[in-house]
Symmetry: C2
């Protein structure tokens, strides 16, 4: 604020502004119109709209100017990109701020992981705000790298760019008044608290909203979204790589409730970001589906800003940060330029200027696997029937089958004829030597093995394969990379993607990550993997909060019973 | 939050709520509809909507339930009522919270005055929030009771119920970057800052908005309001006793900008509150003028709450304070009951329960007048022509005339034939003995004198009269009351209204204040006073920030020149 006097002079036109964007069609989110006017900027702040002169001037005639787009909820880890590389991809597409939930890295590295995300996102042409994860670990039926109680989260309360509490997935904990959960809600009272409560309804929904939970991004149908909206939740319409709710929820939007709606991507893969885009893609799709541009833009600018109390942005108005996106076309949401803090940050799809170097502390790649050999991975065939995880493509949930045990020499084996692969989860945080073992149906594997250190939510190493040797080789390949994803066939690593940041993210350039990811999928196809994205499917087989049968380092989890169950039913 | 677990149980219907309002048409401000449903309350908090049982239940069938109404900007002092008596009048009309600006009492008593307003509004069935006055004193051409710099205001930053900075009337100070003004803006950065900038436009308006000023309640025409809205100010549409802007501004309201609009009363007299109402009156008038009920109610509930970050109210939703207004009729906005914090606070126009006693410290009636006698009030006729303040009825501004000096024995005298009365402002805060003297045209006085300790903004004693003796008697009557308003004829006090709270407010019951006020006006008519509200007119003749010619204890003020000018032009 030291330069306030200078800003005022520029606003009054008594001194030239640093930069004037001349004569564009400026989106006014408050009145819902486009004004043909100059936009004057000084010290990274919008100082005025009207007739202005600047030390630098840029002709914007025929262009649309909109505020920088804001993603209300995303997991950076899902992009497999480090924050800087994420910025390289999404800033040229018009995103200038995101509210990220570092839930995944927190499950691996705890507070250190969250602090890493803060430091790794410093000095970027993208403002990365964090909501701190509320559910680390997700369950007590798995070994996570960390456990975060309210007193741990309290250490981050005053960290810069920390806004509030991230998605409170433990909705049974909330409505049943679990002390540990309530402690976290109390800690963040008066600050943004994100919800996550699929299908919650009626009085239970009232209970969930009561302690101050303010948003929900899990709505999948109109009725659900309408009820949550009516009870006071702001609805963050999600359109990610897997969960795509825009089409189902768009009919919800009306002038009367627009202010309570915003967009988010939640989980978005690097290939999709590069190919389709980020919020620009959502806006394009929304317009295609019939939403008017004013409503769509409002949901990506002012509404996100208001939801998280970011009153310094979300609109092109005096005193706000000069995050300005220049559109070549409004109906195609074609981004030509992006100004971040009043400086040209991207043009024609490319980020300008250099990125601050990424500092990688030694502890960022924890890989602490206990004793492990082929014998450790074997399972005795202890019964005639065996529980099997059934993959449901494009869904995070799974089925639970009971089938005749495929066995050889008294050991459980894969059975390509029945599309049964072996699956293991190898604990990698504390060297416990835990290995969860089971069978999975539906991956399509014929030979070889896939392994990944991305395995929600504890991110132990999950591997599926047709032979013990390949399973072990795949796990070892991931271990050797300090985290990552690998495809092994006949003992040989066909392809691998190193994810040295907590085993979740790459430090490589974005296009390289996307390319390696594509090669990885190609290689997986050589093992017979028939799914669109077998590594994503694999990563959710360990997610012990979504029904029905899942697997963690502690064994098979019957999610409905919320209990570890033996492989061989009694 | 200790009882959070209990609230959750009630929300889930596992335990009965304290109170259930059954089967009313509940206004849902988020979705813009009325839902026929129960509303469950526990510990003063709304716990749920749906089917509920309560220890107490009230049948609401056929009734409309709306959130408690919120006035975004008002000066309690203008009502002449103490906060408790104000609550007695406006709570039964549906107002459950106000954002008050104690500008007047601060000009008399400084921080002590503001603290008095806080303590006098404790424990009421009305939540009184304060924005702290930004402009005490209003000018340096008058003697106020206090001067409040940023460092003084800082003492109130963390006081309970203090929200932000009240109307920044010194707009030239803002846009010219006056350090003392910027200090106050910096002090309240990130908190609500109210604006007050009549007719400001273009680049100067941009400069005014830039440092974070968030609202404006001074718009009088559509174009002005439209521009201010577009630049990011929230528009508080004012409908007070004198300034009535609702009709002019209502065409501004559209679905696209509704969220940026709210109502306020600013200055409202006790008779009008009692006769017409408060926000209920504004709502009635808005509906009469054609606004739909959903928009109107949104502007009096959720929008005010969001404007001031009062996220615990403004909607009937789980977790919010149970301030509920029961309407017998929606189109006539007929209030039947008011629940405050879940307790029945008013019914059929009457407040229930007892009010906490008003503590009146000895220093609350400061009256420190210097040496004063008839001679002090006289003015020598020092020239053939004299400057005269010209009253413009129903306006706060005045004209400036130059007329032939009415004189007798070398002294200036009143001249009823030309409707010229004498006017004096007697300093009452510091015993300086200052007396500003002049002539005023247009009051209609034939004889006697009127005096008042309500004299914006420094609230010295202003008196207008036809003889020196009556002027002195009227001033003495006000002094004797420890502040108030008096009508004197032929040396006798015809009527008087004591205002012992800083010379601005009464400690008497509201109806008594209104009654005495009416008697005072009747008495004024006996002196010939021809205006609708001569005391209000009188109170604005000392307001040295509104053109043209005004009078303070330091003399006549030419507001355009922003300077003291002599009575006899050179």
């Amino acid at each position: 604020m030291n330069s306030l006097a200078g800003l005022l002079k520029a606003a009054r036109g008594l001194e030239p502004a640093d930069l004037v964007l001349k004569g564009g069609k400026v989106f006014n989110v408050f009145s819902g119109v486009f004004e043909e006017t100059d936009l004057a900027i000084k010290d990274g702040i919008i100082v005025g709209l009207g007739r202005y002169d600047g030390q630098e001037e840029a002709d914007m005639s025929g262009r649309w100017l909109i505020p920088g787009l804001i993603d209300t909820h995303m997991h950076i880890e899902s992009t497999q990109l480090c924050p800087g590389e994420l910025a390289r991809v999404i800033v040229p597409r018009g995103t200038t701020a995101i509210v990220a939930d570092p839930h995944e890295i927190a499950n691996v590295l705890g507070l250190d992981g969250i602090r890493f995300m803060l430091s790794a996102s410093e000095g970027l042409p993208l403002d990365v705000f964090l909501n701190v994860p509320s559910c680390v670990p997700a369950t007590h039926m798995e070994t996570a790298g960390a456990e975060l109680a309210a007193e741990d989260l309290a250490e981050l309360l005053n960290a810069p760019r920390v806004l509030g509490l991230a998605e409170v997935m433990n909705f049974p904990g909330v409505i049943n008044g679990l002390p540990g959960v309530l402690d976290k809600l109390r800690l963040f009272a008066g600050r943004p608290i994100d919800g996550h409560a699929p299908f919650l309804s009626g009085r239970d929904l009232c209970a969930y909203v009561l302690p101050g939970i303010a948003t929900d991004h899990e709505c999948t149908n109109l009725e659900e979204a309408g009820e949550k909206l009516a009870r006071g939740l702001r609805i963050l319409i999600r359109e990610g790589s897997t969960a795509r709710n825009l089409e189902a929820l768009l009919p919800l939007v009306s002038p009367g409730n627009l202010r309570r709606l915003a967009f988010c991507t939640d989980d978005r893969h690097p290939e999709d970001l590069i190919r389709e885009g980020h919020l620009d893609h959502i806006l394009r799709k929304a317009l295609f589906l019939g939403l008017d541009p004013v409503s769509a833009l409002t949901m990506a600018t002012l509404n996100p800003a208001e939801t998280f109390g970011l009153n310094d942005r979300g609109a092109l108005a005096p005193g706000r940060i000069a995050d300005v996106v220049v559109l070549e076309s409004l109906d195609r949401m074609q981004v030509e330029r992006v100004y971040k803090n009043g400086r040209l940050a991207a043009e024609n799809g490319r980020l300008l200027g250099s990125m601050p170097p990424l500092e990688m502390p030694a502890w960022i790649s924890p890989m602490n696997i206990g004793p492990l050999d082929e014998a450790t991975l074997e399972v005795e065939a202890a019964g005639p029937l065996v529980r099997v995880i059934e993959v449901v493509e494009h869904q995070v949930l799974t089925g639970c089958l009971t089938v005749e045990t495929p066995a050889l020499d008294g050991l459980v084996v894969a059975d390509p004829g029945r599309d049964l692969a072996r699956i293991v989860v190898v604990e990698r945080h504390k060297g416990t030597g835990n290995v969860g073992k089971g069978l999975v149906k539906g991956l399509g594997l014929k030979a070889g093995a896939l392994a990944s250190s991305v395995a929600h939510d504890s991110h132990n190493i999950v591997a599926a394969g047709m032979s013990t040797a390949d399973l072990l080789a795949a796990v070892r390949a991931v271990e050797k990379m300090g985290g990552g994803q690998a495809v092994v066939l006949d003992g040989r690593v066909l392809a691998q993607l190193p994810l040295p940041i907590a085993g979740l993210m790459s430090d490589a350039p974005a296009d390289q990550v996307a390319e390696t990811g594509a090669r990885l999928k190609d290689a997986a196809r050589q093992t017979g993997a028939a799914l669109t994205d077998p590594f994503m499917t694999l990563s959710f087989l360990a997610l012990a909060v979504i029904p029905s049968l899942k697997i963690t380092d502690m064994g098979l989890v019957d999610v409905e019973k919320f209990a570890i169950v033996p492989m061989f039913p009694e």
